[in-house]
Symmetry: C2
Subunit: 193 residues, 2 copies
């Protein structure tokens, strides 16, 4: 999906700002029109409903994230790929914290009009982590644990990343990446291998 521009871009940016401040449910189409500086007619010409607007916004964000993750993994495998994926996810969360907050708040909502779309995109993003995990620990695939491990790595980076940006933003990004990777390094576990 090409990045949208012009009026649609202004609408997306306004909707994202507002949802970052007060949630999707707390954001009205009137608020979006006002913040974007577009007439209500123009807003509804571009998006028939608030559901369509946020579905488009989340699609764009998740598509960009999945493409960035795919590019990060390209030419790497196993642990090196996991390092690249965590680093890239942190970078995306930093570059667009409002979007990350909205995605984190929406990821487990099962009442949204766009829940199937949201589910499909989450699986696409998790698939990048799952592929690297299968390479790093082939026995994970045989136990069916790969997707749960992918959710674990994704969840760790998402929650630690938001904790960093919302409450500890002075800390350098490299330290945050190092702390997340240290969690997976085995340093917490007794030596068993």
């Amino acid at each position: 999906m090409a990045r949208v521009t012009g009026t649609k871009r202004a609408i997306f940016d306004a909707a994202l700002q507002l949802a970052g401040e007060r949630g999707i449910t707390g954001t009205t189409m009137d608020d979006v029109a006002e913040r974007a500086g577009v007439a209500k007619g123009s807003l509804y010409y571009n998006f028939a409903s608030k559901d369509k607007l946020f579905e488009g916004l989340l699609c764009e964000g998740m598509t960009a994230l999945t493409e960035a993750l795919r590019a990060a993994r390209d030419g790497k495998s196993g642990w090196v790929a996991i390092e690249a994926l965590v680093t890239t996810l942190l970078g995306r969360i930093k570059a667009n914290t409002a979007l990350a907050k909205v995605i984190a708040g929406d990821i487990f909502r099962t009442d949204r009009a766009w829940k199937e779309t949201s589910f499909a995109f989450r699986q696409d993003a998790l698939a990048e982590f799952a592929a690297a995990i299968d390479e790093a620990a082939p026995e994970a695939a045989t136990t069916g644990a790969t997707l749960l491990m992918a959710s674990s790595v994704f969840g760790a980076a998402l929650v630690a990343g938001l904790e960093w940006l919302l409450f500890d933003e002075e800390r350098p990004q490299s330290e945050v990446v190092a702390a997340i990777l240290l969690t997976f390094s085995g340093r917490l576990a007794p030596v068993t291998r």
Copy 2:
């Protein structure tokens, strides 16, 4: 905080059901009164506002979670304590999935009237993970990485746990705990220790 009973319990249960279905912002005091089967006067007698109601509900849930985590860690240390904490968190998410969804959706909202309360409770819950991490990897404390690692473990269990309960609920709980712990076991990383 003692677990509330009677009319307050009925109000909490109704509010949690509704917020699990449509989010906190999408839930009104009228909805809560109707679902709980209490008169609006009685609802407002118990909670002066929707903010007070949800602050009370989240406080009760986070207090119960922190007490359960503290009990799980009691008498254990290091990796064994981390295993117990992850197992307990998963058990709580399974026992009260609606509450876990509401907490997950709310944890990074910075616009809530109860955001300071929410922050304090999150720090209390994370402190249990941080204590176990400091025991397992003392060098984490010296680099200031402990709290980020605690967020990573908490985030991994929260996201993988919700993924399990919402989209893969037939899987036995023991397999989910095992997959999360495998993520931290070091099996993903090259041998460096």
